[in-house]
């Protein structure tokens, strides 16, 4: 029956029918909830009752009139710092593990494995690592003679707790970044390296002038993931510290979740989410602006 249709029409039908299911899934589970979220942010909904009273921009006004809400972004900064370190280390490992090295696949798998684990499981595990009195980290420090350091309350010291938590993220996501970097390294044509070698470039010069510029797009992508990850971190502090001590490790998303489910203010929480969305957009625009100054390729 399709024989009478033109080739282009047949093509369209095939493309649409193949895409229908993924698009439907995307619309149902991504765009529909996102639209609902925007709608809720203009209501005073408590999260369960059938009535959703419309309050206009009140929720947004409330968020912006409460400076406390934005103070928690200071805590997210630790995750950003660790994320940058994580990217540098990932590039390092990617370069090392992309060279001819005995057992490099083994190392790659070892570094990548933490990413496969469930975030909550990882958080639980690190609960035992960071425990002050019985934790493996302090036990280790004690055994190598750093007894004074072995008394550290990793999750109970204001100022330290966020870095402790972020280091868990580092452990978990470094391998993932590394794999992306390895993929991009392998896409760099060999002949550029050969040309550089002929021109007498040393290994550091090769890295700085050939490898890194060629990876720029991927570094940008990874930075994007790092920034959004840092802004949206939730599971680690939620499981490990519940935002403690005294709110020192509370993150923005955690606050959103509390507002919605502990204080029954779904509308305000939705507005906070939308604001986070715009925050991410702004940060990314800034990043684009800064990083693409050298001109697009």
């Amino acid at each position: 029956m399709f024989g009478t249709l033109s080739y282009n029409k047949q093509k369209m039908i095939i493309i649409i029918s193949f895409l229908l299911i993924p698009l439907l899934l995307l619309a149902t589970f991504t765009y529909y909830p996102a639209l609902k979220l925007i709608y809720y942010s203009f209501t005073n909904w408590d999260g369960y009752s059938p009535e959703k009273p419309w309050v206009g921009l009140d929720n947004y006004r409330e968020v912006f009139s409460n400076p406390d809400i934005f103070k928690v972004f200071v805590h997210n900064f630790a995750y950003f710092v660790m994320g940058v370190v994580q990217n540098i280390v990932a590039i390092y490992f990617a370069v090392v593990l992309n060279s001819k090295l005995r057992g490099r696949n083994g190392f790659r798998i070892m570094l990548f494995l933490p990413y496969i684990m469930n975030g909550v499981a990882v958080a639980f595990m690190f609960g035992y690592v960071f425990d002050t009195t019985n934790g493996s980290l302090n036990l280790f420090l004690n055994n190598i003679g750093l007894t004074s350091l072995a008394q550290t309350s990793w999750l109970g010291t204001e100022g330290l707790v966020n870095y402790s938590l972020a280091s868990t993220g580092f452990w978990r996501f470094m391998g993932y970044n590394m794999v992306i970097y390895i993929a991009s390294l392998q896409a760099i044509p060999r002949d550029i390296y050969e040309a550089a070698k002929i021109d007498g470039a040393g290994s550091f010069q090769t890295l700085w002038r050939v490898t890194l510029p060629n990876m720029k797009a991927v570094i940008q992508l990874n930075l994007f993931l790092t920034v959004t990850g840092a802004l949206e971190v939730f599971d680690l502090p939620f499981v490990l510290t519940k935002g403690g001590p005294a709110g020192a490790s509370q993150t923005y998303v955690q606050r959103v979740v509390e507002t919605a489910f502990a204080y029954n203010n779904y509308g305000l929480a939705s507005a906070m989410s939308i604001i986070l969305l715009f925050f991410v957009v702004i940060v990314l625009l800034l990043q684009q602006l800064v990083l693409s100054r050298g001109g697009d390729k």
Binding site: A34, G47, Y48, T133, S153, E258, V281
Partner: protein, 449 residues
């Protein structure tokens, strides 16, 4: 650039909605090991209104007449396939035609139940999550025809406009759960009756190398009894938490809140709590209490059975009221746990009601769970509760929270256990109280109360 922006937005919406959906599941998975232990007694009760109306006999009293299949959404996932099977067997001897199925809740019962309410798919029998009592008739059937109205405790707690919608599954009190051997080892011969004696006992335990009191400070919920029970006991006023409504400074050093929090702070300052209160482990603490490494908990009586299960014998675990002052007159709070409710839209309402009634009267669930019976005057079989009663303790039945108080608290984002954490950790506790008083006053003004 435009295209880039578009795809950027695309990615962001995707990642954001992922993050948000992630929240839901994250919530459900996170405290997997603590959740089933956490009692609902700590959940803040909501308001109620009016008395339950006159009782009538259940619609169909004869056991074999009632038939149908019912589902019970329970938080006690540990009992499914074990105790619940045994309950159903006994239940079916009386009601052979009712088929009972158990559905295990996710770790956050309250949240899951609310989601189910929003979608209108409620199980036949469930527990009431934290919703205002005025919403009860929207979801639940009246239980007045069970004929239990004059026997149950906390009858007005989940009632609205004279109709009863929920019956407590069991009641708890809070007090000091202690390891008798640890006390004996430290040379404590009788349980402390005043705060000074309590401190002296703690000092003896500490000198012996035993951590006197396991606060589980980090997990926050174990502080619930300090902030929900102690203040009203100290004030000697069941309705004290609702007095907040008449004040712009509900948290002061010389009222119940300040006094209760100061007790906890004093214990921490004297080194009677865990070495690092920001790094505590709930599961481990149960084993440590059982083995005598820690000596005491200040928690509800529900924890007694869990300590015994963690590796000790029942006769090694004791229970006495916390002596919060030097008067020597013990008092303790009585609080309800979860409330049974029957869904309004249940296809087999009679079967569901029969099951609820049976659970309350005959299942023996309260003894298994370590509760005081939901029925008035029914004596507990647990030796620890007998010991507790023998101190001549005065039990104070709690009152439901005023909906306005809950509303202001939510608006101000006041979570009293979190305030307790801040209070204990802060250099200047007065500042913490000031901060939350201000939040309270602002929210109160915004809402116009």
């Amino acid at each position: 650039m435009n295209k880039k922006l578009f795809s950027l937005g695309f990615v962001m919406i995707t990642s954001l909605s992922l993050a948000l959906t992630g929240c839901g599941s994250g919530n459900n998975n996170n405290n997997a090991s603590t959740a089933t232990d956490e009692p609902a007694a700590s959940a803040k009760p909501d308001n109620s209104g009016g008395n339950a109306a006159a009782t009538t006999e259940p619609a169909a009293a004869g056991g074999a007449d009632i038939s149908g299949k019912i589902t019970f959404l329970t938080n006690r996932t540990d009992m499914i396939g074990k105790e619940y099977d045994e309950y159903v067997k006994r239940f079916n001897e009386k009601y052979p035609n009712i088929k009972v199925e158990f559905e295990a809740s996710q770790t956050d019962y309250n949240q899951q139940a609310k989601v189910r309410m929003a979608s209108g798919e409620l199980p036949d029998v469930m527990f009431i999550p934290t919703i205002p009592n005025s919403d009860l008739p929207k979801y639940f059937a009246s239980l007045d025809d069970l004929g239990l109205n004059d026997q149950i405790t906390f009858k007005d707690f989940k009632s609205y406009e004279g109709k009863l919608y929920g019956i407590t599954t069991g009641n708890s009190t809070s007090g000091i759960v202690y390891n008798k051997k640890a006390f004996a080892d430290a040379g404590i011969t009788e349980v402390p009756k005043t705060w000074d004696e309590f401190l002296a006992a703690s000092e003896k335990l500490k000198a012996k190398g035993i951590i006197p009191l396991a606060s589980n400070f980090k997990d926050k919920w174990p502080l619930n009894n300090w902030v929900y029970d102690m203040p009203r006991i100290i004030e000697g006023k069941a309705d004290f938490p609702n007095d907040k409504l008449n004040s712009d400074t509900p948290f002061t050093m010389d009222n119940g809140y300040g006094k209760a929090l100061s007790l906890l702070r004093e214990l921490n300052e004297k080194g009677y709590l865990e070495k690092d209160i920001n790094s505590t482990n709930w599961e481990q603490s149960k084993k440590d209490i059982a083995s005598g490494k820690f000596a005491m908990y200040f928690l509800g009586n529900w924890v007694i059975n869990q300590v015994i299960d963690a590796g000790t014998t029942s006769d090694n675990v004791g229970f006495f009221p916390l002596p919060y002052d030097n008067s020597g007159k013990p008092a303790a709070a009585l609080s309800p746990d979860f409330f049974y409710a029957v869904s309004k839209d249940s296809k087999n309402i009679d079967a569901a009601k029969a099951f609820v009634k049976w659970m309350i009267e005959e299942s023996g669930y309260e003894d298994f769970a370590g509760f005081i019976s939901p029925l008035k005057g029914k004596e507990s079989k647990l030796p620890q509760l007998k010991e507790f009663q023998s101190t001549g303790v005065q039990m104070q039945e709690g009152t439901p929270d005023d909906a306005k108080v809950t509303e202001i608290s939510n608006k101000a984002q006041i979570d009293i256990p979190a305030i307790a954490q801040e209070f204990v950790l802060a250099k200047d506790p007065q500042k913490v109280l000031d901060k939350w008083n201000k939040a309270w006053a602002n929210a109160k003004k915004d809402l116009g109360y």
